[in-house]
Each structure stands twice: as C-alpha cells, then as structure tokens.
C-alpha cells in the first residue's frame, strides 16, 4: 500500500518534470529488453519511472487478474475445500469428513466405470480419428474441384453446438428411426440395434456420434498442417521416382508430426471433460453404460445436492486430467520444442 502511495506522488512528480526525462525513462525498458536477448542487462532507471511503470503494469494486468482470481482460482480452491465436507448446499458447511468423499468415490463402481469410459473414449478417438482423418486429409490435399467448399463442409459438425448436434442425432437414432430405416434400405435390417437403449451398444453409438462431430476438426487441422509442407519437397521426391504413398509416409506424415500431436492434445482434453453430448443423448444411461466423469459429477452434485461429494469427484477429474496432460507433455509434445529459449509452460 505504502509503496503505491509513494509511487503515485513520485510519478506525478515525474510527469511534471521535463518531458525529456520521461522520454529517456521510457526508452529504457525497450533497450533493456533488447539487451536481454543478447544476454546482458542494464539497470539504470530512475525511481520515478520504476514506480510509474509499476502503476502501468497494475493498470493493464489488474482487470484480467481480478477476473481470473475471482472466477477461476477461488472456485478451484473452494472445490478442494468443499471436497472435505459433507454438505447439501442449503445449510452451513460444518460436517468435516476428511478424505471420506474421495474414498467413497473411488469405491463407487459407477464412478470408476465412468473414468474407464473416459479413457476408452480417449483411446478410441485417437485410434479412429487419427488414421481416418489423416487418410482423408492426404487424399484431399490436392487441387480438386470444390476444394474450398469441401473444407467448409467438413468443418460444419465441429462448429455446431454439441447440444444441437445431439438433439438431431437423438432423433436419427430413435428405434425405427432414420438410421434403422437406412440399415433396412441397404439390406442390413438385421443389424439394427437399440442404439441408445442397449447398455452394450450405447457407448459405441456415442463414440460414432463423437467421431462425426470431431473428425472434421482433425481433417481441417491436418490440411492446414499440410499446407505448411513445402511443395518443393514433393517435386524433389517425385523426380526421384518415389511413389505417392512413399512420399506421404516418408515426408508428409513426419512433417505433420507437430500438427498431429497438437490435435491429439486437444482431443484428449476434450474427451476428459465430455459432458454435453452424453447428457443430451443418454444422460449417462442406460444402466450407467455411458456415464462419464462429468455427467457423474453433475448427477451427484446438482441433481442430488451432494456438493461435497461432487467436489471430490471434480478434484479427482482434475488430477486425472493433470496426470494425463503431464504425461502427454513429457512423452509427446516435448519433441516439438526441444531447445526452446525460454522455459516451457505447462499447457492444457
């Protein structure tokens, strides 16, 4: 506080002083920043400019920091606190239960199954979408008629809200609905299932809808990555007599590495938090067969008013995400920036 007050008085003083001084002071950081790149620092700053700078920094950073602390940091800390209480949200929170909520969650097979479903969705998303997306992107990465339109069309499912897409798919998947009619039309009527009603099938159905929704993102990202691959490489390879497939395998796909790893990360993070689509399609059912961590959390938290318990589930969700993100960062993403000049931050 006292620091602030001095800062204000001195800074007005500085403004009242000669404009030359102020200008010189203003120049300093630019030079020093430039110097820092070269590995040396200059420390010749007047007190007034320092204080003024601090004020400026506060002015610029304060709104974002306040918003961030209030609506991100505080709730996250609160979640950890709530998770050690038994509380229904109506009365005072005074029933401290330690780690009971955590052990209860980890003992509940509905929750551990939900974690498993999230992991299955992560693995299947990558196994299905990576080869499919890559194949389509490679095939479409050439001058074909309607290419621009194609790019836009492929992006359509991704930009739709999950809720909107979910409602449409819910209607398509009704018993005796459109999907069943299409199976009948091509003579596969015997294969129709209770797409969302059979516990053995529902997760697979959700997976298909998710593939529809997110394959476009993979294709578009891969296509964008392919544009960065120099055309000269192709020509050189072609002159060497390499086949199309050899060129893709030896040159294109390795060069696409960073893009693929980027996409993988987005895909994993999305799968860990999956809520909207499942909520609309199945609500986590039938018989909990499509329950994800997030639907379980909302089910227990807001539908049953078990706020302490749901907070423990949220913390577990976070820890799992953190572990997976860190592993991915360590094992996969690290390759993309091996000698970065500045320390890399954790990404999510």
């Amino acid at each position: 506080m006292a620091d602030d007050l001095t800062a204000r008085s001195t800074s007005t003083g500085a403004v009242a002083a000669t404009p030359r001084d102020a200008r010189a002071a203003d120049l300093a950081p630019a030079r020093s920043a430039a110097g820092a790149v070269g590995g040396q620092r200059r420390r010749r700053r007047s007190v007034s400019s320092n204080a003024r700078k601090r004020l400026e920094i506060a002015f610029f950073v304060a709104p974002a920091l306040a918003l961030f602390v209030l609506f991100v940091v505080v709730p996250v800390v609160q979640a950890v606190r709530y998770s050690t209480y038994k509380w229904n949200g109506l009365g005072p929170m005074d029933d401290f239960v330690g780690l009971d909520n955590y052990t209860q969650a980890l003992r509940d097979t509905v929750f551990t199954d939900a974690v498993m479903h999230n992991l299955i969705i992560i693995v299947l998303s990558i196994i299905i979408q990576l080869p499919l997306g890559l194949a389509i992107a490679l095939l479409l990465n050439r001058e074909i008629w309607g290419r621009t339109a194609l790019r836009v069309i492929i992006f359509v499912p991704y930009v739709l809200a999950e809720v909107v897409a979910g409602v449409v798919w819910l209607m398509l998947l009704q018993p005796n609905g459109v999907i069943d009619a299409m199976f009948d039309a091509v003579g596969l009527g015997g294969l129709t299932q209770l797409w969302l009603g059979d516990p053995d099938v529902a997760l697979g159905t959700v997976m298909v809808v998710l593939t529809w929704k997110y394959l476009g993102l993979a294709i578009i990202l891969f296509l964008a990555g392919l544009q960065g691959v120099s055309a000269d490489l192709y020509e050189a390879a072609q002159l060497d007599g390499a086949s199309w497939w050899q060129v893709q395998r030896r040159i294109t796909i390795p060069l696409l590495g960073p893009t693929i790893r980027t996409w993988g990360f987005l895909s994993i993070i999305g799968a860990l938090q999956l809520f909207d689509m499942v909520w609309i399609l199945t609500g986590g059912g039938p018989a909990n067969s499509t329950m994800t961590m997030a639907t379980y959390l909302i089910n227990q938290g807001t539908n049953r008013s078990l706020y302490g318990y749901a907070s423990a589930v949220a913390v577990i969700l976070f820890v799992i995400s953190l572990i997976i993100a860190a592993l991915y960062q360590y094992l996969v993403l690290r390759r993309d920036n091996p000698q970065a000049p500045k320390p890399r931050k954790a990404k999510a």
Partner: protein, 432 residues
Amino acid sequence: MARNRVLSAVALTAGVAMLAACGGGGSDTAAEGSDSGDNTITWWHNSNSDPGKGVYEQVAKDFEAENPGVTIEISALAHEDMLTRLDAAFQTGDTPDVYMERGGGELAAHVEAGLTKDITEDSAEAIEKIGGSVAGWQVDDKTYALPFSVGVVGFWYNTELFTQAGITEAPTTMDELYAAIEKLKAAGIQPISVGAGDKWPAAHYWYYFAQRECSEDAMSAATTDGDLSDECFVRAGEDLEELIAAEPFNEGFLATPAQTGPTSASGLLATEQVAMELAGHWEPGVMQGLTEDKQGLGEKTGWFPFPAVEGGEGDPESAMGGGDAWAVSAEAPDAATDFANYLLSDEVQTTFAENSMGLPTNPAATGSVADPALADLLTYRDEEASSVQLYLDTYFGENVGGAMNDAIALMFAGEASPQDIVDATQTALDNE
C-alpha cells in the same frame, strides 16, 4: 460464512466496475424472480399441453380480473423439466411464488431451509375442505401446501388389446398378471411399457412389491427409522426379478423416457403399441397430449390396481401413490397465498375435474370428473383402497430416493441383485 460475504462484496464491486467499464451496462436482465414488484406472482405448473395449459391460463386470467393489479406469470413446463428447474430454484433461493410440492422428505428439507411458507392460517378454509389428504404436506402439524390432486398408481391398460388377446378379467394376482402377459405375447402384443430411462417409473414396481411383501411394522421401520433389515425387502427384489425375467417390457425400455414423445412409455400406451403401463393418475392427461387427436386412449382406457402377491405380509388392498400440492414460497407476496387458495376453490377444482386433469381433493368436485377412468380411480382411492402409501423415493428425499432408484433401474438392466437394492438404499440412509 463471514469469508463468503467478503468475497461477495469484492465480486460485486468488480461486477459493478465492469458494468461501468463496458459502457453503462443496461442488460442486467432477469434478476427479478422472487421480489419483483409486490403484485406479480410467478407460477410454475406441469400442464404444458391442452386442455390443462389453456385451463390454467384462463384460471390465471380470472384471478387477475378479480384481483386488480395482480399479474400472474405462468411457466407451463414439462414434468421432468419442471423438476430440474425447481431443484435449481431451491438451490438458488429463486423459487417461484406458487409451485408444486410432492410432500415427504423433499418438503421437509425445503421447510427446514426456510423456503416454503407456513399457510396453516391463511389457507385454513381450503385445508378443512380437503380433509385428510393434506396430512402428507404437513410438517410438525403445520401445513405447507395444498394438495390439489392425489392419485394412486396402478396399471392403465388398453381394453381393446386385452380383449383381442383373450383376457376377460383384469388381473388381481401376480399369477393372473403373468397369465395375461403370456396371452398378450401370444397375440403378438407387447405387454407392458416402462420408462426405465427416467428410473422412477421402474422403481414404482419395487415400491409396490415392497408394499405387498412387507408387514406394516417392517414398512414403518423403513420409513421412520431408516431400517431395511427385514427380509421382505429382499423378497420384493426377487419378485421384481421374476417379473423382469418374464420379459413383459417394451423393446428398449432401459432408455425409454416416462412421458416425453410418442416413443416414451406413455406414448407407447397412447399409440396402442403396448397393452398396459404402471402409472399414476396423470396418465390419461399425458396420453391426451401425446396423440394427434388429443384423445389419448379415449374409450379404450382401463385401469386395475397393482395385483396381490401371494404370501406377502402387506395389505393387498393398500395403494401406493402421492400427489401434487400448491405451495407458496417463503418470500412470495400475500396474493400468492390467495391464488393458491383460489386454485383449491370449488370452481377451479370442478373445472380441473371436468377436464380430467387429475383427481381433485375438494369433495365439491368429486362428482364432476368427466373421464370415466379417472372417476373409477377416484372411487377406488376414496372407497376401496385401505391406505395410500407415499412413493418411497418421495418419502426418503432426493438423495436416498435417488440412490434407491438407481439401484432398481440397474436391476432392470440385469446388473443388480435384490440384495444390491437393499444395500444401496441402506447405505444412503445411513449416510444421511
């Protein structure tokens, strides 16, 4: 608590600063809710299709005409949707002025949290008229809501399909029910629809089996002491397992919703895809909303009580049911209580009965029930049933009730044993 309040103050200041920063704000909308003007009453109900919707719009208009200056804002919501929103509203304290209470553990929790108004005195006249049914909405001898429809759960069936399958008498025992199921199947008719996707319609079977299997002592040990140790609760699960094993239910019942759309359990009965469904008094009204001609099953509607279970220690004549009551939120204007009383008046209850919107509780309206099926149900409720036991999930409240319903729904998927249901419910009760 103190820390919370400091936090709120900080955030509010930030919010105000942001409003100012973004050029005068202006869009601070719907923060109205409970305390917007003294004479606006917000009213949530679940008659979201005609005739109920129209009737209630007229009722609101009539009340506004008689009470100049009072405005009623109606939200006609689908039943499930209303429950979700009410839950949220109770959490936020932004409760509508007049809303539906189902009694039991839920009401007790709302009363404890100070959300619901004590209307013992302001509604004395209506309470007296309703008589005994009001007991389910009293906590510590004070009345918190006015039941406007109290019904019982039983099998609604399609009389024509029954005849077609050669069933001449409605089943009265489980053996007869099994015989009926076989006959329907033989005739190529799906016997029963159940909205197990919403869980509670599936859970009703277990409640009824428990009621048939359990002596009065065992039942009250469960409801008052939270003790499910009596063997009869396991037997209830075994009865249910046997029924599920007979495969009487509609295709895809695990994901079938209770009442939304033509493929819901009610929709299947209304469109004659199945022969019967275990449901409450709301069924004819729901079915009407789900058919193009707004007739539901019309003339073909039949009803029979849940069959007796051989060897059961419970009263085979007892019914399971519950009802809906108009409650007034704690901070509602006085006009809201007047409106709740008006909703129970002879006039409104008679209109309610004439439009077959439920089973009126005001005796003046008893004779006006137009729908013959509902009239029969009313006769059954008032004259034949020995007692009406409140739905167990309502009785236990959302937490225990939810855990119990989850376990029962799992049994329908073949993933829970009779003992699992008892264990899940007992664990939840012990954690309360």
